[in-house]
Symmetry: C2
Subunit: 231 residues, 2 copies
């Protein structure tokens, strides 16, 4: 096998492991969603097991990237791809942490279906799940248009989060005895929003890698947040 073919095969294997890691994170999010809809707190331990795998995968992939760079001394273009992969696995790992944070709170929902009914968090979770899927697809296919779609979806997620916040503040005012449950909803919405932020980071990296246009500072997350309600 020629050196380039060998390297291409190694890059393909890297890409495959990232997809496997990503599918575990998506699974975490699906289980969180199922736990929420069935009000089943026992699913949290399944998420926790998956998250351990995700964390382990991150460090295996990081190690693989380092060895790949050291052995193959890639060109600038291949190197950028590997660096983008390194950034991406950090975002994936942090998404998993958010899913786990949400899963801890599932027990509370059971206790307070009345608060849960006020909101439509599953729709928000589905939106976030789609963003994660699309950010990964954009990465795999170098698809700038899809990456830009992810950035737009992030605004919808922020609106969702603001809506949850405002509704729950009003609810707490009229139901001071249900403050803890309402707070849980606010925190879950924020965890979902942080997952969406990580998907956005991935999409921004794709746009940068493909076009050289750095959307990461400019209309980047922090700058966008400056324009919206700070909650």
């Amino acid at each position: 096998m020629k050196p380039r073919e060998h390297f291409d095969r190694e890059l393909q294997q890297l890409s495959d492991s990232i997809m496997l890691m990503a599918s575990r994170v998506e699974e975490e999010l699906s289980i969180v969603l199922a736990a929420y809809e069935r009000l089943d707190p026992t699913l949290a331990s399944v998420v926790s097991d998956l998250d351990r795998q995700v964390n382990k995968m991150r460090f295996e992939i990081e190690e693989r990237c380092i060895l790949l760079i050291a052995k193959q001394q890639p060109t600038a273009r291949d190197l950028r791809l590997i660096i983008a992969s390194l950034n991406m696995i950090v975002d994936l790992e942090r998404m998993g942490d958010q899913a786990m944070n949400i899963s801890y709170n599932v027990g509370h929902y059971r206790a307070d279906g009345e608060v849960t009914m006020q909101l439509n968090l599953p729709s928000m979770a589905v939106l976030v799940k789609n963003m994660v899927r699309e950010a990964l697809d954009a990465f795999m296919k170098d698809d700038v248009v899809l990456a830009e779609k992810v950035l737009q979806s992030d605004d919808a997620v922020d609106q969702f989060k603001n809506n949850v916040f405002n509704k729950m503040v009003e609810y707490m005012k009229s139901h001071p005895d249900r403050i803890e449950s309402a707070l849980d909803m606010i925190l879950i919405a924020r965890n979902l929003e942080r997952m969406a932020d990580h998907a956005t980071n991935i999409a921004e990296d794709v746009i940068f890698a493909c076009t050289g246009e750095d959307v990461r500072h400019g209309v980047g997350k922090a700058a966008r947040e400056a324009q919206e309600k700070p909650n």
Copy 2:
């Protein structure tokens, strides 16, 4: 100049730019703290200017790292240092985002000194500021003992956050008219805790780079969170 000397000089320049970026982030945190203590919402725009610089620096340093790897084809050890630097600048940039999030809320404090008085958030902010400083020192000096101290401080920050949460929940129950202000305090404490998490990430990277011991999954953040109250 010998190639190794030249490379060492480039590594030193990289290290200098990271310290400059870090000092900007520390500055952001100091200004947030001053804004909080003086109840001065106008300082938020200063934080915003600094944060723009921080974001720009991240991408300049990332670019410098990529060129350094491509040109110098570093050994595994040097490569690990550069990869650790890449991880670190992401954490620094996100810390800056958190500082900016907090600065947006400063206006609220003015409106509700009574809620502010219930807590000691400046002490929490000082604790986080020290963690950031120590994590950077640990990185610069390869100091594992100092890095471990950062991990321990993170537990204290988590306790602070839980304390703010519990106190504010009680306060909201007895003062439903002050729910928004109390919520701001909870969110600020969570932003500070996230800054501390990023300092912890840096410390964990230092321990990994120096000892090969991967504290990042095991007693890593997510695993530690699993043992504490999930709010």
